[in-house]
């Protein structure tokens, strides 16, 4: 049984189809990457899955449950975490508070308005654990807006992780990172894959080819190929549409 499935997924912006009849299945425990030129519809596809966009038609099921049309908060509660291409943090809150908010969203205590937030030990401990996991313990008390770019990218993922997602959607987790940071991030994604199913968008081909189990190639809203990295690289249509002019 597929963890996530899209059926004839279609999204129009005005008269322009940014996602065009996409049928995909994602199995549990694997790493999927989505590649394609700018404007291919990658981020839109992620937005459709995470409830940030509603499809024009078609269906998305997660664990056999229909999730298209749900709000992003509901999708999140079902176990789909999302990180963003551009940093999307709580800028004036500390790293720890950023993560704690996400942890707390799964805790019944979130409705409590009259007890000290520090009293929720398990929430605080778990937030600490996640801050540690993303390697930001030293800057735990720093406001998110003052982090370096690489640290912001890590926090971006930390927030998504803190909601205990079964499926993790990541939009260009390495965007704007320095080479060494990128290598670290790769290792981190590999580690995450032990516990989560991952779908991520990426531009750097060497990353895609080295860590994905499956590659999905999109162009102008369509999925033009899916398969193992090797198979996709060999696909003539992919070469023409995407890899052709660049390498």
């Amino acid at each position: 049984m597929a963890l996530l499935k899209t059926t004839k997924l279609l999204k129009y912006f005005g008269s322009l189809a940014c996602v065009y009849y996409v049928d995909l299945e994602f199995e549990e425990g694997r790493i999927y990457s989505i590649i394609g030129p700018n404007g291919a519809g990658k981020t839109s596809l992620l937005n459709l899955i995470s409830g940030h966009l509603a499809p024009s038609s078609g269906e998305i099921t997660f664990r056999d449950r229909k999730i298209d049309g749900l709000e992003s908060s509901q999708v999140s509660q079902l176990g789909i975490g999302r990180s963003f291409q551009l940093n999307n943090l709580f800028p004036a809150l500390s790293v720890f508070e950023n993560v704690r908010l996400a942890v707390q969203s799964r805790h019944p205590g979130r409705y409590n308005f009259f007890s000290n937030i520090g009293a929720y030990r398990e929430v605080n401990e778990k937030a600490d654990a996640i801050v540690d996991k993303i390697g930001l313990s030293p800057s735990s008390a720093k406001q998110a807006q003052y982090l370096s770019h690489g640290d912001k990218r890590l926090l971006e993922i930390g927030i998504a992780l803190a909601t205990d997602p079964a499926l993790l959607l990541m939009d260009e987790p390495t965007s704007g990172m320095a080479p060494e940071e990128t290598v670290m991030m790769l290792g981190f994604i590999r580690k995450l894959a032990l516990e989560h199913t991952i779908i991520f968008i990426e531009h750097k081909m060497n990353i895609v080819m080295s860590i994905s189990d499956q590659v999905i190639v999109m162009n102008q809203g369509r999925v033009i190929a899916t398969g193992t990295p090797a198979a996709v690289q060999a696909d003539p249509e992919v070469r023409r549409a995407y890899l052709g002019g660049i390498d």
Partner: protein
Amino acid sequence: MLQVEAIHSYYGESYVVQGISMVLKEGEILTLLGRNGAGKTTTLRSIVGLKPPRRGKIVFMGREITRMKPFEVARLGIAMVPEERRIFSSLTVEENLKIGIQKGRVGRWTLESVQKLFPILRERRHHRGNQLSGGEQQILAIARALMGNPKFLILDEPSEGLAPLIIKLIAETIKSLSTEGMTILLVEQNVEMTLQIAHRHYVLDQGKIIYSDTNEGLKNNREIRDRYLSV
């Protein structure tokens, strides 16, 4: 033509450009290469006055432009085609072009000559900016910059996200502009393309220039290309 002397620029709190110096000669095509976050775009923004450097000096044709406002820099004849083209999406193609006109700067480029160079702009002159494809937008952005008859053209990643055919057209245009005497500064990720057209290269990493060479030199230096520029 353009001299950049040890400029330092910050983006918010992060120290992005850490003492970059460069010299451009008239009629030459120079590229700034390097990975994301190396400081290329910030360098450009410093030159055109969008992000004045905290320290250092920028001189254009004998005049210091370090602290000038962007529109003043533009009026001296420096045109920039920024990343993501930044076409005015609610304006028609023709209106976009007309905004590029600068009174007092007349020359080879007029509405007619630009449309002759890129016939697609005449065909689509009544379309709005947001109805154009990525390639058409890039062409429009270049044409709009030309309308001000600049002496010096700055292009930030013109090939980004475009189809090979359009990239070729743009590369050819850049080359022919340069043979007509235009000085061009090009920021690119697409190293292959720049190797075909540029005269000299600077490679940036973490806010500093770590390598500079002629086109031939870079072509033969595999190590630099693999270390800093491989896709």
